[in-house]
C-alpha cells in the first residue's frame, strides 16, 4: 500500500516534537537498542558505549538527522536516501534484522516522551514509515 497522505501527515507531526532534540533522542534510541539488544553493539567496536558518550550522542544525532531528511522528502524516499542506501550496502552492511530493532527503540523513545502524540493511528503511520526507510536502506544489499 505504501504511505498514505494521512501517514505522511502523522509522521510530520511526530517530527515537530522530535526535531528539536535530535541529539538527545538519537542518543537515547541507540542506548536503548544497545541495552535491550546487546548484539547490536557488534557494529560499534570502535565506540565508547557508556551512557552519555559523546560518540553515541553524535551518532544518534546523525541517525535521527537522516530520518528527518527522509521525513522532509517523504514523497520520494528512494531518491532522498540513495546515498545512504549505497553506504549501507557497500560499507556498513548492517544485517537487515537490526533495522527493526532500531525502529522499535525509536518508537519506545517517542512513546515515552510524547505518549499523547503516539496515538494508535500515529503509531501505525510511524511504523510504516520506519519500515519504508529500512526497506530503502537495504534495497541494494544484493
Amino acid at each position: 500500500m505504501g504511505l498514505t497522505a494521512c501517514d505522511k501527515t502523522n509522521v510530520k507531526a511526530v517530527w515537530v516534537k522530535v526535531g528539536g532534540h535530535l541529539e538527545d533522542y538519537g542518543a537515547e534510541t541507540l542506548e536503548r537498542m544497545f541495552t535491550s539488544y546487546p548484539q547490536t553493539k557488534t557494529y560499534f567496536p570502535h565506540f565508547d558505549l557508556h551512557h552519555g558518550s559523546a560518540q553515541i550522542r553524535a551518532h544518534g544525532k546523525k541517525v535521527l538527522g537522516a530520518l528527518g531528511e527522509a521525513v522532509s522528502h517523504i514523497d520520494d524516499l528512494a531518491t532522498a536516501l540513495s546515498k545512504l542506501s549505497d553506504l549501507h550496502a557497500q560499507n556498513l552492511r548492517v544485517d537487515p534484522v537490526n533495522f527493526k530493532l532500531l525502529s522499535h527503540s525509536f518508537l519506545v523513545v517517542v512513546a515515552l516522551h510524547f505518549p499523547s502524540v503516539l496515538t494508535p493511528e500515529v503509531h501505525v503511520s510511524l511504523d510504516k514509515f520506519l519500515v519504508a526507510v529500512s526497506t530503502v536502506l537495504t534495497s541494494k544489499y544484493r
Binding site: E28, T35, V108, H113, P115, T119
Partner: protein
C-alpha cells in the same frame, strides 16, 4: 531455565505492581490490531474492527486484552518457571487457536511501547531491557509446545 538477575526481577515485579492490567491489556491488544492489521485474522468474532476508533472502543477487544495481560501476570509470578507455567496455553495456541508464534513477539513489543507511554522516564533503558527479556521468554514459552 532462564536466569534473572536480582535487578531484572526487581524491575519486572515493581513495575508490574503499578500496571493497570485492564487498561494496558486493552490498549496493547487494540494497538496490535491497528498497527498490524493482519492480526485481526484471529478475531473475526469480535465484531466491528473496521477502524482504529472502532477497535479502541470495541468491548470485546478490551475484555480480551485484559484477559491476555492478566495471563501475562502468571509469568511475573513464576519468573523461574515460565515454560511450565505456559505449557497448556502453548498447546492451546498451537492446536486450537492456530496462532503463528510471530504474533507473540509482535504483541510483546507493542506491550513495551504501551509501558513506555504509561511510565515515561521510570521506564529506563535497563528497565526496558528486563521487560524485553521477559516478553521474549514468554513468547518462547508460548511457542514451546508447537509441533
Amino acid at each position: 531455565m532462564v536466569h534473572w538477575t536480582a535487578e531484572e526481577k526487581q524491575f519486572i515485579i515493581s513495575l508490574w505492581g503499578k500496571v493497570n492490567v485492564a487498561e494496558c491489556g486493552g490498549e496493547a491488544l487494540a494497538r496490535l490490531l491497528i498497527v498490524y492489521p493482519w492480526t485481526q485474522r484471529f478475531f473475526s468474532s469480535f465484531g466491528n474492527l473496521s477502524s482504529a476508533t472502532a477497535i479502541i472502543g470495541n468491548p470485546k477487544v478490551r475484555a480480551h486484552g485484559k484477559k491476555v495481560l492478566t495471563s501475562f501476570g502468571e509469568a511475573v509470578k513464576n519468573l523461574d518457571n515460565i515454560k511450565a507455567t505456559y505449557a497448556k496455553l502453548s498447546e492451546l495456541h498451537c492446536n486450537k487457536l492456530h496462532v503463528d508464534p510471530e504474533n507473540f513477539r509482535l504483541l510483546g513489543d507493542i506491550l513495551i511501547i504501551v509501558l513506555a507511554a504509561h511510565f515515561g522516564r521510570e521506564f529506563t533503558p535497563a528497565c526496558q531491557a528486563a521487560w524485553q527479556k521477559l516478553v521474549g521468554v514468554v513468547a518462547h514459552a508460548l511457542a514451546h509446545q508447537y509441533h
